[in-house]
Symmetry: none
Subunit: 416 residues, 2 copies
């Protein structure tokens, strides 16, 4: 069953608010076998709202609308719904009771505009709102559904999770959909595509499977999507394609779905009972920040040194000043000395370091902006690897931090 | 001039990725006098893309499209643009040179699919992409404009900021709009609203001015918007409202528009020729990361210590172990000792520290999750301030980092 999602609100059209509601609704519907194929955002203007309703209702089995159900003058969605379905408003006693309950909890008396929130379009089915005063509702016409929900994210989520998703799970929509995202790093999108080869070798056209390449500063995500009549069939399709992709590109895949590289690396450190210390120059604390986003990281993360000045590299990390004189602060030798310095000083098992030129200034022909050396040291070996990253200062920091965590993961796991 | 924004990508329709691009484009166009009145998202499917193009181009003076310009099989936007405008592809030499430049920097040879990124629809005007391999482009037809940009956010932003906005600023669109955002921190939205009072005292209805409260983990932004026939009129309206707000809430306002607190604090340090060192426990490197996002921060940022273990607090920061025994690692005394320790050790003018419980575990009735002590030390004084932040681990880190930078700013400026 296909769906269109309509979000209403001037704040979205001027870019003041990022539209997280439509992503949430799409993701939830998707798991219940209802596939959004268009999302539309319009402002609080009757003509625009009615034409968006008409277009979507013409094309789709499910229309999901949010926003503009509040009590103030600029909330006109309810009036538009009445006009669209040629109906008027009627009081819903349960919604009224809910408004009064909410105000009672706040020790306040509801005003007239609050109680009017309990008016709903005649002929709709009401979706009660335990978390706010505006009820949702829906219309059914010949097996097609038109849902209306408030735009306050947690109220909308309550209705999606407690009413709309269970509602569709009881209906046989014919097809289920499952996704699996493999996360790669250290390989450009085009090289990854070449390595994986023709998608026809992964799955045949019409099998219900698709593959998407999604690049960002952390790497390229490979999203496998399967549609099938049964969950088990969709999962089998995905498992098969995942195996084929892994056969070709396993070495670049660090994780799957929502897992971040810092969790993967942290879990490896924890399971091997290894401790880590980090010495950062160009990444400026971003590696430590990411590592410490993981609950429990204090179990393996010993300390981080953000050695921005040469003095701090010398004093904190015991990098010999001759290294700077001979090779410069951005060099293989400096990265290695920083990694072993922080490891020895902190009595950690592993030291990890970065030194580079994040820009925008400071680059030379020989050492351009984007040049980064990443150093690794443990009891057996110390080495550094050279990278050249594209992008602006922040992007270079992000790419360098990601590359450092990946170098850590690969080295501990002894991947080539 | 009205605009429609079309974002393309299956990842948006399944809710895997929140659509931040459309908000960015809307916001930027808006400042240039181009008002989005509809946003549409469709998947990587030719029929859906072409019908979205046709509908938008029929209704709007400006159509802005992003997504689906990558080199892999699932990127079909360019082919759809060609079909829509009845044209074919032609090589753009400058775009080709850009592809080669980017690969050269990585010491790699571009492949055929990379070089094919330089093919653009015949008859378009090319928008060069300094940050990636896919060029953007636009068509002009009778004073109406159809823009196509890559979906990678920073590449799209580069094109918006460096090309499209300056382009529209040169065109007379009839009504100009100006925004001004005052950034506050350390005060809750409802208290700030109470302090500012009735908006009727700031501007009258129908004056073309509006005010929005936009809270996030860094604080509450106050956004003033003015529409007027001339830039100077809009700017005067804004200046007047800004003055009235500042009269009432100046002490909470640290900056305006896109400026981040780390830039403000960094500029103050630079202008006063002060150096800074940071000792972070619960913020885990986030303060150092933010400070080093600012170009030129190496001029005043001496070093950061992410002292996650007690051992590192003792050895790196010379916090006496008796402090931990007597008061615990999360205490006023520990924060003060960390701030003065990092200052003295690094020979910096100022030391800043954080110690707290970011959660989810580790809280007690006496020291709950969200408790953070922030310490400050200079040659004259050392003190620490207590905060209790709401939210999950990452939000607590963000709020604590923001509060630490604000404490730094206010203390150096001797604000009460």
């Amino acid at each position: 069953m296909n769906a269109e999602i309509i979000t209403i609100g001037d704040e979205l059209l001027i870019g003041q608010v990022v539209n997280t509601n439509q992503a949430y609704i799409a993701e939830r519907l998707n798991t219940a076998g209802v596939f959004a194929d268009r999302m539309t955002t319009v402002g609080d203007a009757e003509g625009k709202i009615l034409s968006a309703f008409a277009e979507a209702w013409e094309r789709s089995g499910v229309v999901a609308v949010t926003g503009g159900l509040g009590p103030t003058h600029d909330d006109i969605t309810r009036a538009c719904v009445c006009k669209f379905f040629g109906t008027d408003l009627v009081l819903d006693p349960q919604a009224l009771e809910n408004v009064r309950r909410i105000f009672l909890r706040r020790n306040q008396e509801p005003k007239k505009i609050n109680e009017e929130q309990a008016l709903v379009p005649r002929g709709c089915k009401v979706i009660q709102n335990r978390l706010g005063t505006a009820p949702g509702y829906f219309f059914e016409r010949s097996g097609r559904f038109f849902f209306v929900m408030p735009g306050v994210p947690y109220e909308m989520k309550g209705m999606m999770d407690n009413f709309i998703i269970p509602f569709f799970e009881k209906i046989d929509t014919g097809l289920v959909i499952r996704h699996r995202t493999l996360k790669t790093t250290g390989i450009a999108e085009s090289f990854l595509a070449e390595r994986i080869g023709d998608v026809g070798s992964l799955f045949s056209a019409g099998s219900g499977v698709s593959l998407a390449f999604l690049p960002n500063s952390a790497g390229v995500r490979l999203r496998i999507t399967a549609r099938a009549p049964k969950i088990s069939e969709a999962e089998n399709l995905i498992r098969d394609v995942e195996k084929k992709i892994r056969d070709k590109a396993e070495r670049y895949i660090y994780g799957a779905d929502e897992t971040e590289l810092e969790e993967i690396a942290g879990n490896i450190l924890a399971s091997k009972k290894l401790t880590l210390a980090v010495a950062e120059s160009c990444t400026g604390g971003l590696i430590a920040d990411r590592i410490t986003n993981v609950p429990g990281s204090s179990g393996y993360f010993e300390r981080g040194i953000v050695a921005y000045s040469n003095a701090s590299k010398i004093h904190e990390l015991e990098v010999p000043s001759s290294v700077f004189e001979q090779y410069g602060a951005v060099s293989k030798e400096a990265a290695e000395a920083m990694a072993s310095g922080v490891r020895i000083k902190s009595k950690s098992d592993i030291g990890l370091s970065t030194t580079g030129i994040a820009g925008p200034g400071g680059g030379t022909a020989e050492k351009p902006v984007g040049l980064v050396w990443i150093g690794y040291s443990d009891r057996e070996k110390t080495f550094a690897q050279k990278f050249i990253f594209n992008g602006q200062r922040r992007i270079i920091k992000e790419r360098a931090a990601q590359a450092a965590l990946e170098l850590l993961r690969r080295t501990i796991l002894k991947l080539e």
